[in-house]
């Protein structure tokens, strides 16, 4: 009756494995030798170096610590170059940020706010400011960043005793960028046939708002011919210009859609 765990009973459908039934009680409740020997084996294995890591003194992400750690359970997988994939505190390169708002748009927790930061030449620029009290480190923002300026580092020590310190200003993330921590190198693959910006020509008034606010300057206003009004028909009051999107440069941030006063731009499949 005792079926070994390897046999498959003919009554069972294919692909089903019957596990071994419970061993009958041995009659002596004192038979505990095998578990005790198993525990003793582990005892001898962990005498020299247990599998735990003395955390504040040894850190897996510490480059100088890498290569040294080998514990009883083998080398932890996180040790080595793959630790670089870790999604920790963000680093922001202010100089390459194009203020496209994509990070703030893509944040599921709405923890990113675009704030003004001064740049060289007395100008200001809008860069993301992250509230780590809300952030869930999902990485959608760094996936969305078209310029690769908002990345995630391996730093995860955010502990603070005051709530305002959880808000990281762009300058603070810029200093993290300069600290040369390993950056998360993963880039999201973009779909090849991404939607592009389309124009409803009947509604456009040629106001130049989209071209003015486009962070990549990929929108140019081109002249369109002023049509001859049909008899009895009045031409619409507008500037006879129309935006043209350079699709190769467009990062699909949607700024033009949001600034358009006439709601004439929209997402659509590439014609």
């Amino acid at each position: 009756m005792a079926s070994s765990p390897e046999t498959t009973s003919p009554a069972l459908p294919p692909g089903v494995k019957k596990t071994a039934p419970a061993p009958p009680p041995s009659g002596l409740h004192g038979i505990v030798a095998i578990p005790m020997i198993t525990a003793a084996k582990q005892f001898t294995r962990s005498l020299w170096r247990p599998s735990t890591i003395v955390y504040p003194y040894e850190r897996l992400e510490d480059p100088s610590f890498r290569g040294r750690v080998a514990v009883a359970s083998g080398r932890p997988i996180g040790v080595g170059e793959v630790w670089d994939n870790y999604r920790g505190v963000h680093a922001l390169n202010i100089t390459t940020c194009i203020s496209c708002n994509l990070c703030a748009f893509s944040c599921p927790d709405t923890c990113i706010e675009m704030v003004s930061v001064p740049t060289e030449g007395g100008k200001t620029k809008r860069c993301p400011q992250i509230d780590y009290g809300k952030c869930s480190f999902c990485g959608f923002c760094s996936d969305a960043c078209p310029e690769g300026c908002l990345t995630m580092t391996t730093n995860y020590t955010l502990t603070t005793s005051r709530r305002p310190e959880m808000v990281y200003s762009p300058q603070r993330m810029y200093s993290i960028y300069h600290s040369k921590l390993p950056m998360n190198p993963i880039r999201l693959e973009r779909p090849e046939n991404e939607d592009c910006i389309l124009l409803d020509q009947d509604l456009c008034i040629g106001c130049n708002a989209c071209a003015r606010d486009c962070p990549t300057q990929c929108i140019t206003m081109i002249d369109i011919p002023k049509p001859e009004p049909a008899p009895g028909q009045k031409l619409p009051k507008r500037i006879w210009k129309e935006p043209s999107v350079n699709d190769a440069d467009c990062v699909r941030c949607g700024t033009c859609i949001s600034v358009c006063p006439k709601e004439c731009l929209y997402w659509g499949a590439r014609p």
Partner: protein, 371 residues
Amino acid sequence: MSATLYDVAYWISSHLLGALGGLPASSLPGAWGVGATALAWLITAAVVFAASLVNILVLIWWERKLLGRFMDRRGAMHVGFAGLLQNLADGLKLFRKQVFSPREADPLGYYLAPTAYLITSIVLLGFLPVSAGFVAGAVPLSLLLALAIFSFAPLFIFVGSWSSNNKYSLIGGMRTAAQMVAYEIPLLLSVVSVVILSGSFDLGTIVQDQARDGWYGAPLILGLIVFSVAILAEIERIPFDLPEAEAELVEGWNTEYGGILFAMTMMTDYIRSLVGSYLVVLLFLGGWTLPTWGGLGILSSFPLSGILWFQVKTYIVFGVFVWVRAALPRVRTDQLLQIGWRRMLPLSLLNIAIAAGWVLAGWPHLTWPSV
């Protein structure tokens, strides 16, 4: 070499008081004599208490370190050398906490139970000999007294659990009562076998007999196992820690205790563990003596070597208890009682028969009857 700790303390206090009053230390009159006795008691109690506290700190450290290695981790390691003072820090933290009691609890029983539990356990250390002549108070029949006091605990546990007015505490207290009653009998019966071989109820004599005749753990291996299992149940350690089964009963009978009261119960648990290990060593493993075959006598020739080896043996026995804890799950209530009544009790009776057989065979000078 037979001066007890109390004798030493009395000698010190009587000379101290005699010097103060200008009286002869050997015959202090009236109230002076009573004072000297009281002072001697105080000194004795303080020494025993301090020794037991130090022992417990080291014992808990030893358990934590051992368990850590069994579990592939490190155990306490930051406070003091290798974490030796971690338990002191934990204890200080508990002592500093607010003492509170549930509103519906019965204050008398609630506060009395841990106190009495602690006191009765520390008293045990007062007359257990730790080496030849090293004993706080010499008591004839010390083995009987030790076992009698050892079995006080369920009463106080039950009082505490009842007074806590908590359902978990109550179930834990009931379990304690059932468990202790079930394991008291195998415990005593396995001790009987030792008494049969030794012929004495005095722990010092039993150890000296073992030094002469060989450790009783060898002829009474069954008794050693039964006694150890029963002691495991008495000191409520895994696999018999049902009164504190934290998975279902939160913290068992001391669920409602916090701060210093919890520290007291915790401390008492370890004092009882220490006493249990002492008893195993004293009764079955030769106490403070070591074999003297060949050149081994040199190991026990230096001063205070008895205390050293006694402690070493005790800690090894406790290490085995820890090993059991690391490897075995907790048994169930009915299984616990079943093991107690249906396995341990017959085994202990069999053990008595074995002991009687050894005596009939002429222990310790075996003269097998020629049939």
